[in-house]
Subunit: 625 residues, 2 copies
Amino acid sequence: MKVPSHRCRWATLPSPNAREAASMYGTAVAIFLVILVAALQGSAPAESPFPYRVPLDPEGTLELSWNVSYRQEVIHFQLLARALRAGLLFGMSDRGQLENADLVVLWTNGNSAYFADAWSDQKGKVHLDAQQDYQLLQAQRTPEGLSLLFKRPFATCDPKDYLIEDDTVHLVYGILEEPFQSLEAINTSGLQTGLQRVQLLKPELPIPNLPSDMPTMEIRVPNVLIPDNETTYWCYMKELQENFPSHHIVKYEAIITKGNEALVHHMEVFQCTDEVHSFPSYSGPCDSKMKPDRLNYCRHVLAAWALGAKPFYYPEEAGVPFGGPGSSRFLRLEVHYHNPRKMQGLRDSSGIRLYYTTRLRRFDAGIMELGLVYTPVMAIPPRERAFVLTGYCTDKCTQVALSPPGIHIFASQLHTHLTGRKVVTVLARDGREREIVNRDNHYSPHFQEIRMLRKTVFVKPGDVLITNCTYNTEERQQATVGGLGIQEEMCVNYVHYYPRTELELCKSAVDAGFLQKYFHMVDRFNDREVCTSPQASVPPQFASVPEQFASVPWNSFSSNVLAALYGYAPISMHCNKSSAVRFQGNWDLQPLPKVISTLEEPTPKCPTGQSPAGPTVVSITGGKS
Amino acid sequence: MKVPSHRCRWATLPSPNAREAASMYGTAVAIFLVILVAALQGSAPAESPFPYRVPLDPEGTLELSWNVSYRQEVIHFQLLARALRAGLLFGMSDRGQLENADLVVLWTNGNSAYFADAWSDQKGKVHLDAQQDYQLLQAQRTPEGLSLLFKRPFATCDPKDYLIEDDTVHLVYGILEEPFQSLEAINTSGLQTGLQRVQLLKPELPIPNLPSDMPTMEIRVPNVLIPDNETTYWCYMKELQENFPSHHIVKYEAIITKGNEALVHHMEVFQCTDEVHSFPSYSGPCDSKMKPDRLNYCRHVLAAWALGAKPFYYPEEAGVPFGGPGSSRFLRLEVHYHNPRKMQGLRDSSGIRLYYTTRLRRFDAGIMELGLVYTPVMAIPPRERAFVLTGYCTDKCTQVALSPPGIHIFASQLHTHLTGRKVVTVLARDGREREIVNRDNHYSPHFQEIRMLRKTVFVKPGDVLITNCTYNTEERQQATVGGLGIQEEMCVNYVHYYPRTELELCKSAVDAGFLQKYFHMVDRFNDREVCTSPQASVPPQFASVPEQFASVPWNSFSSNVLAALYGYAPISMHCNKSSAVRFQGNWDLQPLPKVISTLEEPTPKCPTGQSPAGPTVVSITGGKS
């Protein structure tokens, strides 16, 4: 065993066998685990070698720190357990469930204590892993609690282990309140358990140098009363001072009013078009009949934040243009409130803080929206475990809208509403998939970050960007249509790139006429006279698309035929400039991009080193901490 | 390392490091590999511990023997290479291709020789496996050639390795004619290569005791001229002597006329119904207009053989009834000739040799056909990589046709025509999948064996048997419909069971009326007036189903909608007695059996032992064999 990361300072760690010298103290009645690795006493790192840290449980009794060695493809974890009783489970699972989880278990049978790599079956029963891939390196009593240091390779090739990739990881934990005679006696269903979502494999990009002059500006809604509706998009107009000069935004971060953390779902700052020189002030719902029509001309994204995102830094060579001639002084802040309990009387002043500079960087940065148009024509049937919708940014659009040198995508924010489970954008060139722009196979709508890409993606005119979103509607009895509401769905990848172009939306939706063919087909297949549908009084040509979807008799046939339609029918493209204006061209009835070769799934590298065959045993003797 | 199998006699093998002591001799110009494992000289097994043996290449220069340890889940291979030049590749791949193959490589760079576990990528380039799972145990020069003894676990959990299961395995080989500077310099595309199909994991059932009296009867076509058509089903009537007493068939085997091995695709012996007391003699094509209509009354399968099958033994407690009162004296032999080159003038006397006895066994054995009815309503769209058709034996049929104690399936023969790639039959009870009856994930229509099951499957009245067949039609431009012709498709599992019941066919097909809805839907979706179809002069109601399929404009939509239809539409059941007569009941417009839980894929057991990290090196010095 080597101490892998230059960040780690426990260089005196003598050998893997040292862990066997660890000793634990407990009492028969209430067992306090005090694990002392004799050889390591006092050899804890002088300063934290772990750049990342999250609490696992709401009370913060379990705290996880970690670092990543990309060279060795290993993560070192430090788990601090405050006030531990008889042991704990920690691990990862597909979506945060404690069943079918990949676990490490620290447990005692009352006499001895053990540390082992384990897994739980679909009923939550815990089993020892045939291959022990979590390796205990240090166990130490600290003033704060028991600190366990262990490591695990990204990939273990043990079929019972979680494959750690650079997407969302659902960490899980469980607290053991009493001794267990054996590992196999543990069942996760009886324990206090929980989950925490993190990106374990953060790209290790340095924080860029920031300019010495860096004023900030806060764009916040003015102490609004959050409506007692499940979904509100609140619009607030902000006007910059006249003759506000050219700047580059180099960083921004969210400001969330304390107490409203769970209500503010996402926020965006849009710049208005500079073709219109005055905008009325406004603070109210974006879909209000009272809102000024001119708000529709404020669609150029300046900053986007969603639940879970951290401060955002632009690459050193790029910043977002802000102010100056040719740049509108008018900004629109849009705050999406998600208020499912329809709470009343809550006030909010959330918004975004921009950090900007007059020392303009070499390139302007921009944000482009990939995926699906927000339209009900893209719908997910009910009771589907993994229904995929696909949005296209076609070769024709990138050909028309990008200039020859192309663009560099450096960050990406994936976005769906509640039923989204996976999102991926792939770049295809000449009909062949070339590169993944961003992928999250464990996407959660409750953990939407803007993620810096480990490697900038270069997009040329003529390239195709294909965004797939996978939804789970097993709990729903009606179709879920596309739209703005939180109960509706989206499929969006906000990509951050430079140099900025006019292209702001490159999204698609199925052709509406082909969707009508689908409705007619399903009606005829079921031998239904159109007038027997629930909307009997509404002639079908006047029924809205959501109404038409609501009247589909959902079964495997109608669901699979809808999937077949989406995989075949021509699309309508939104190849749009910032001002809701399409680029010139015919964007309707476009053929689906043809992909003749797809990317192969990379084979995980399996660790070749020796691993212990069973649990690591440490002796427990009497005593109390 | 332990010598694992009691069948193996190389008990003096001292330690894994012994293989490093092996030495090889070669010359710079023509390299003859002579590998001598010093410690093993003279310790070769006195008798062959390998029950299975196949030639790998048509000339027999490479011969593989093997044995299986189910306890350790390990196969020992002995590969005999006659007249080897500079090395060889041996391994397994999904369907016999040399790309994406799991390989062992014995190669020389002119000075040293190496043995390594490797894999080939999709371009045929060879790479070293990160995990070395093939272990060389012995390398020995014998009078016949170089003999390599090595072992491999069934499952390695190396993602680059083939998972050895109890279905068809496509073994592959390649001959190295010259030294290679490194393993990575080898590309399979430049080599002399080939494949051989085997079932590596044969169930190790003892050959049952055979009765002391065991006369044989040969039922062979009478020196017929094989028609110069691609597909011929030849029918030949055989009459037993009068008063032929009751017997049990306990064994049968094929007799193939020498030289016709590639033409005789499959053969079956049917017994005629005992309700008809005389049959005309006949020898001619089964679909001839001249054939006696009464041949249709000869449908009770007595014996079935197909390409690749070995002699078949019935379990000691069962035999196939043959002769005696209530048993027809008339047999029909059906030989399926596959003559794609339309060769003329070939004569054939192939047939089946039955071994029978008067000492009747406890149970009568029977054969039942599961899967799909031979009907064009079940079709596969063109250009599909893996299209699945499903045939059902419904709970209603087993309830009506099986008597309460149920039946025991002891053998199974999977059958499709040329585009079949996988076949599996699963037993479901109370809506839950319980057990796999037989499965071949690497099924080849060129390797159809009757396979004894490792474990007898018990089927109760009310059970459901679901047979899935997966087809690859990437090379076809038209739909492939179900039917008897070799260019048409089948999906059949002939299960051999006891005690015999009246149920001989338990198969399904989609309801013909629902298929007509499909044709109409596709026509309307494409806005085609029906009269513009290729069969413009034929009103659609008079077009045959194959004609209707031929006029479908195949694309992802029409293909996926067909799959959706097959997954939803009601079925028509053939729940038939031996005499082409259905059991009483309504068998049309039956609902598809509901399956609420499916079997989980078993997790392969990964080997926990240590394996070498790289190639095993053996030194080569000058010399000549």
